[in-house]
């Protein structure tokens, strides 16, 4: 067991983090070390992958009639994200090299050919625990997956 994992378990024992946070941190540490952590919920049951990604924008009271504000409700099947990632196979090798070169010029040392399907599955599983709420003066924005 690595030092990071021991530190996470210690924080859990001291009550500084919840069980869900500890599970998430352990899975991240495990991914860095090249190992995988058993993905399970608090009850020990395997957590189902999210089926839809929801994006909702609601204008706040008093701003509904502003012409710039829109009410947006989008539901994206997670399978569509998976299928979209398969489109990366259509990128010709020369174009992939150009993309990598452009990203490196911007400081992103990343090869788009390294995106593998198992990384996508981990990302989609993590989406199930992700919830983004943005609160502005004019509208509220919610992004979550379930």
């Amino acid at each position: 067991m690595g030092d990071n994992q021991k530190r996470i378990l210690q924080m859990l024992a001291e009550g500084k983090i919840s069980v869900e946070e500890a599970t998430r941190l352990l899975s991240l540490v495990g991914a860095e070390n090249g190992t995988t952590v058993n993905k399970s919920s608090v009850d020990g049951e395997p957590k189902p992958s999210p089926k839809y990604l929801y994006v909702r924008v609601e204008p706040k009271e008093g701003h509904e009639k502003d012409p710039e504000n829109s009410r947006v409700n989008i539901r994206i099947p997670v399978g569509l994200i998976r299928a979209g990632m398969k489109l990366k196979a259509l990128i010709p090798p020369q174009a992939a090299d150009e993309v990598n070169r452009s990203m490196q010029e911007k400081g992103l040392k990343f090869d788009i050919r390294d995106i593998k399907d198992e990384y996508l599955e981990e990302l989609i599983d993590a989406l199930g625990d992700t919830e983004i709420n943005v609160d502005t003066k004019q509208a509220g924005i919610w992004i979550h997956a379930e």
Partner: protein
């Protein structure tokens, strides 16, 4: 296997009118497929020549994988919903 969506429901509303439209994708889809197949058969000799000349450049990959990838995307469209509304109108699109 996931089947493609059967219907596309589009609803466009403004302050005075509402325009719903149900498109039967289970009819339109096969018709479009037949049309694409006919076009593909016509351009097949030229496509094969282009494939031979560009084989070493790696362009064969997008040519072979294009249609399966697009089919994968289409089969996952079921449940995709977009609903955008402003004070003067609303657009609602959903694949069923």
């Amino acid at each position: 296997m996931n089947w493609p969506p059967y219907w596309l429901k589009i609803r466009i509303e403004d302050e005075q009118h509402s325009f719903p439209l149900w498109l039967p994708l289970f009819i339109i889809g096969p018709l479009v497929l037949l049309l694409l197949l006919a076009i593909f058969l016509i351009i097949l000799p030229f496509a094969l020549l282009a494939l031979i000349f560009t084989w070493e450049l790696g362009w064969w990959r997008p040519v072979f994988l294009f249609f399966p990838a697009i089919f994968c995307v289409i089969t996952q469209l079921r449940g995709f919903k977009v609903d955008v509304g402003k004070t003067n109108g609303r657009v609602h699109i959903v694949f069923i």
